[in-house]
Symmetry: C2
Subunit: 69 residues, 2 copies
């Protein structure tokens, strides 16, 4: 699997988990202390987030990062 594909898959998993919890991008963004538009970029796999950000998002979603990467 190529790196770009992995980024997109990563974003998709965030979106899936978020939707399964029934919360909006906006709310999740606020929970993870991330700008709403930036969260959109991440979910679309357009941004190459740092590990710290990835951990922040996992904390907000209350899941293990292993389930996201």
């Amino acid at each position: 699997m190529k790196t770009d594909e992995r980024m997109i898959a990563f974003g998709k998993r965030i979106r899936d988990v978020r939707r399964s919890k029934g919360i909006s991008q906006e709310v999740l963004a606020e929970m993870a202390d991330i700008d709403r538009s930036y969260m959109g970029n991440i979910e679309r796999g357009e941004k190459n987030v740092t590990l710290k950000k990835a951990y922040d998002i996992c904390d907000a979603l209350d899941i293990d990062i292993k389930d996201l990467v």
Copy 2:
């Protein structure tokens, strides 16, 4: 677990795997196409790597990223 601690643990795991394979920091850096001094920073948990770089390192170490995060 705090984010900084996670970064340090992440770096330690890289170092452990690398040593178990008997290769130097410099060689791993070359394999992962990362600067040698930067690889040192990562192993010490001093740098907040991007997901792409994390994937690159995993590929070089031939391990799953789940075993690193």
